[in-house]
Amino acid sequence: MSNAGPSRRYDGRRSDEMRPLVISIGELDRADGSGRFGFGSTAALASCSGPLEVRLNKELPTKATLEISHRPLEGVGATPSRALITTLESIYPSVLKLSSHPRSLIQIIVQSLSSSSTSSTSSFNTYNTPSVYIDTDASEEGEPNTWPKPKNQSSFPLEEVSSPIASYTFASRSASINASTLAILSNGSIPMTSLPISISVACIDSTQGQQVKGDLIVDPTVEEESRAKSRFAFAWAFGKNISMIKKDDKDSDVDVKMELDQNDREDEMELIWVESEGKFNKETFSDALELSKIACRTILSEIREKLGQELESKTLQ
């Protein structure tokens, strides 16, 4: 698998190619808004309800209470879930205009649709395998008990250090963010200043002859992530005039320039969230950043298209 060459990955994708995107909007009947987003099979479903009645002890006098929860595919939420929630909580309050619905509740629920595999351990599940964990208590000293058995273990050494939040792959974190964005969009009654869209990038060592160089790949699969030297996930917030406020602070004569910007069809984008793991240098990071920009734009245009279709089908009814 690692001999797949630098330009083609083992599933035949180019290094800057994403898996086919799964986007569906408003499929849940009883939520005000819902969205499903998947990078291939790495998918998440999110619902966004609100503004709802808020419980008295959580009521905020000037803005809406934002409640984000997450459910993993198997079992009940634990630390990985909590970590994902924290991520989402760091993104959404800044892009939602919560002040437009004071004393109410906005609920975002994210449901992972792909199992949380840690980036280092049970990562050798290829397609069509059930996810099986071995209870450490039950397994004995010897190795024969581990399933799935890590094959070719020697060919790529496993990362022995992984942070506690490593339980969700970067791709599934990105999918969760995108699904939440879809859900909020589909809800329609919560104003947003910009649209956060996320993508994961991994840096894989490829040994070509004597030289070791890092290849950047967009939207890595579980396996690619586990082999990667470093992993990133970026979320870009797209919108018009989002950076206006900041520019305003600096100098006032940008105003004219800004109006030009406004006419520009191109959306402004702002980096809203980054997470990374593993070793990387400055160049790798800035390359990954550039890659993510392009990928997020692609995702945005797909979302736009889908949303357009969705709205059109609604107006017909």
């Binding site: 499929e27 849940l28 009947d29 009883r30 939520a31 099979s41 479903l45 619902s47 309800s49 709802l52 009645e53 419980r55 929860s69 459910r71 595919l73 198997e74 079992g75 009940v76 609920q107 629920i109 449901q111 649709l113 792909s114 199992s115 599940n125 290829t126 397609y127 069509n128 395998t129 059930p130 996810s131 099986v132 964990y133 071995i134 209870d135 208590d137 039950a138 397994s139 010897g142 024969p144 008990n145 581990t146 399933w147 799935p148 058995k149 094959k151």
Partner: protein, 281 residues
């Protein structure tokens, strides 16, 4: 926390008037079920079941644990079935409402207590190692009749799931990865499925009530049956009193319906199997 607003009287009157003529608001006849759809996930044992607009996702995973001392030959089946606010804002995570308890308890009874899964077949090494199955249910959308949808999703997921092949040599257990040996399906005795009927005062029962129908009805009756004409669970908790003949009538309808539903699951599983490589490598 969010109390649901009662449907307006005019809507109630309309629904009852329609039912009196044997019509339902979504165009079904009284004893008709909504369209059932199974969406199988990439991994074995992940099934999303859609019953009209009601959706439940079921996922099965397995791990190896030590059996209980008093039952050394039995594996475990755990069911996680918390209803979160995604299904509807009336369900709150962390605190369980009455309806949630009824749903989860009935599911538990229908799947676990009816011995649908042969738990002794989950034994690997008596007293040492057994499989523990974990069935996680995600209630995605509550558009009425979550229970039936969940039971279909659960049984489909359990029948879809395969556990890896194990080999026991002396005291040593070897677990084969799916690349080495094809994983094996679970030993399932029968396929119990829930059927929920709703009652309205002085009207014949209706099958598979929608959310509105559930809110307005004067009582529901859930019967869990299998294709072998056995009643596994019957639950009519209060509501309008019924004569014994009326209950028997419902049960008779159930016998037929369950057979069709089991067939539906089997067909869906077969279709999925065709597009999937699990058997031979």
């Amino acid at each position: 926390m969010v109390r649901e607003i009662d449907p307006p009287t005019i809507q109630k009157d309309f629904l009852l008037a329609a039912l009196a003529e044997g019509k339902r608001l979504d165009g079904r006849i009284p004893l008709e079920q909504r369209k059932v759809e199974y969406i199988f996930g990439e991994e074995l044992g992940t099934v999303e079941c859609r019953l009209g607009k009601t959706a439940v996702l079921a996922q099965v995973s397995a791990s190896i644990v030590k059996p209980r001392d008093d039952r050394p030959y039995e594996g475990f089946l755990l069911i996680n079935s918390e209803i979160g606010p995604m299904a509807s804002s009336v369900y709150e995570s962390g605190r369980s409402s009455d309806s949630e308890i009824l749903i989860t308890r009935l599911l538990e009874k229908s799947i676990r207590r009816t011995e649908a899964i042969d738990r002794e077949a989950l034994c690997i090494l008596a007293g040492e190692k057994v499989w523990q199955l974990r069935l996680t249910l995600h209630f995605l959308s509550d558009s009425g009749n979550l229970l039936d949808c969940a039971s279909m999703a659960s049984m489909a997921a359990l029948r879809h799931f395969r556990k890896p092949e194990v080999e026991v040599i002396g005291d040593e257990v070897i677990i084969h990865s799916p690349e080495e040996r094809a994983p094996v399906p679970l030993a399932i005795h029968h396929t119990p499925l829930c059927l929920t009927f709703a009652y309205f005062e002085n009207l014949p029962p209706i099958l598979d009530p929608t959310h509105l129908e559930t809110t307005l009805c004067s009582g529901t009756l859930t019967v869990t049956m299998n294709a072998q004409r056995e009643i596994c669970v019957l639950s009519k908790a209060g509501g309008t009193p019924l004569a014994a003949e009326e209950i028997m009538g419902v049960v008779t309808v159930g016998v037929e319906r369950v057979r069709e539903m089991v067939k539906g699951i089997e067909e869906a599983l077969d279709t999925d199997k065709e597009g999937r490589v699990v058997e031979v490598r």
